[in-house]
Point group: C2
Chain length 337, copies 2
């Protein structure tokens, strides 16, 4: 039985989406139990709407009346709000009483909780956020995506090590291709950070394919795309922005003349399939790699299904012993240096 702790109040649509998402996950996985952490009464009120749903007996509530919001200063909140789901959940994972932690709430609090309540894996310089993003054919892992906005060169090869272990475990890719985000293909290109990181990446224990330029990030050239957290967050959000703008333009132009409008209606199945391929919530949230336990940060706007997917992803990370793999790979990297 795998035990996931879910932050019941995390996310724009909580606790409705978290309770419903937990039930969906329980229904789909008989080997799963979930603890919902949050104010007991609120969770119970929400649960009443779903009485008698299969799997409900594998769901328990952990009363965590203190709530950390996006307005709280993360590190301070983790220090002070000891009765929050973030703090209680992370401690349970640390004690081995839960196998993984999932939250759609404050990213900062999840990072701070992971860093200070769960702790870093030995040798890991900086834990990093590593969502899977679509490239039209498959998904690639973008690491770091915002946990470390200012990076030292030495962080980047470790992101590669962790991302590579992650993709191997959850996507079953044998020898993941690891690329470094840069503005040119040649080793000597880029800013001071990536120039120094490039040479460290070459020596690291993964399949380094060299630099990946902006136009190739979604071109299925790398399974793991490594960058500092500022660039990663920019890439993540810009991808959403460009896709939204482009699809908005297409929609507008399709409605602009009758012939195109009819065409658009007929082509609806195609657009639906594109939307489905682009939907990265299906593969879960962004795991925080490098901490001593499984932590998944789901998108703040997650619906119930996205929450269920994030839980499924956390379960997979537990089943594949990802934390152990990262520990081993980091030790290997450090011993080879």
């Amino acid at each position: 039985m795998i035990h996931i702790y879910l932050d019941a109040m995390g996310g724009d649509n909580a606790p409705g989406c978290t309770v419903e998402g937990a039930l969906e996950a329980l229904k789909n996985d008989p080997e799963l139990k979930i603890t919902l952490g949050g104010p007991r009464e609120e969770i119970e009120r929400e649960l009443k709407k779903h009485e008698g749903v299969p799997g409900e007996d594998r769901l328990t509530i952990d009363d965590a009346p203190e709530i950390i919001t996006n307005h709280d200063a993360p590190v301070m909140a983790i220090r002070q709000k000891k009765n929050s789901a973030q703090v209680k959940g992370m401690l349970l994972v640390r004690e081995g009483k839960a196998d993984g932690f999932v939250s759609a709430g404050s990213t900062g609090a999840t990072l701070a909780g992971g860093m200070f309540r769960l702790g870093r894996i030995d040798g890991v310089e900086r834990p990093a956020l590593a969502p899977l993003l679509p490239n039209g054919k498959d998904f690639f892992c973008l690491i770091d995506c915002g946990a470390n906005v200012d990076c030292l060169p030495a962080y980047l090869p470790q992101f590669g090590v962790m991302g590579s272990a992650y993709i191997k475990a959850v996507r079953g890719v044998e020898n993941p291709r690891v690329g470094l985000v840069n503005i040119g293909a040649e080793a000597e290109k880029g800013n001071a950070l990536v120039k120094a990181a490039y040479h460290l990446m070459e020596k690291a224990p993964f399949h380094f394919i060299g630099n990946v330029e902006g136009r190739d990030i979604t071109g299925d050239v790398a399974d793991v795309v490594v960058c500092d957290g500022f660039s990663g967050n920019l890439i993540l959000k810009f991808m959403e922005g460009v896709a939204g703008t482009l699809l908005g333009m297409i929609k507008k132009e399709i409605y602009a003349d009758t012939r195109s409008k009819i065409g658009g209606l007929l082509a609806k199945p195609a657009f639906k399939r594109v939307k489905k391929t682009m939907d990265y919530t299906e593969v879960g949230g962004a795991p925080l790699l490098g901490v001593k336990g499984v932590v998944v940060k789901a998108h703040g706007s997650s619906n119930a299904h996205a929450i269920a997917c994030a839980i499924r992803q956390a379960v997979l990370m537990v089943r594949k012993n990802l934390v152990d793999s990262i520990e081993k790979e980091i030790a290997k990297q450090l011993s080879e240096q």
Copy 2:
């Protein structure tokens, strides 16, 4: 009469596209004359294909037998290849014998030529590349786009000043909205660079609207989007990449079933309009702002029409006295500090 110096051998399709592009520009603008800089014989051979085209009499050749390619180290090439179009053209602009310089060749050589042969405007810390990119409704200026991969905070407000002057001059926007690329909306977000730059941007003499997140860059929230050259180059190329991937997926899915295929055929006019709106070559290339003259870097893969557009853009920059405006605005910024 405005006189533009065009690097005849610059670009993947040169000299075919440059000669043809020059002739298109001359045909459309009777107040324009162009000097084609490059090996005389090659240019003459190309020109023979177009004998008798209107405007040809306003075209002259400047024999510049030395060619700077993408494989040359830019600064070294500018220093040594004194008979290259880049060096000869920049010097003519500096001497006031030409009004502007256009090249689709090596970006590095154009930058180095601008910096060391033309020179910086007084007070400008770093010249910057500033292409116009589509947001579906209009175009925004992204500055810097690769000229300065490592930036100090003080460079960024100057990018804002120059971008603002540029948008005012060439797009006729009265009070351009200037935003700072960041990973959050709040002033305290971001890496060390943007955190420090934010406060300088607040004091600068332009309409600062604060941070712009990745998802809003193409959301028509800012006319001028300021960032370091590494982020800017990433944004520029990633935009191309995402748009290409997404359109590729749509195409693939439209061909995947008969109903969608018919729909796609009918909706062709809509897709054509989208493609046209997205085509940023229509608005020209990337100007190098901050140097003592008009310099436009056209896309390496430019066809003749894109070259003609880059020339038209350079002419507009000359007609609007952009270099003077930037000089005045930078002086103003420095005096207010």
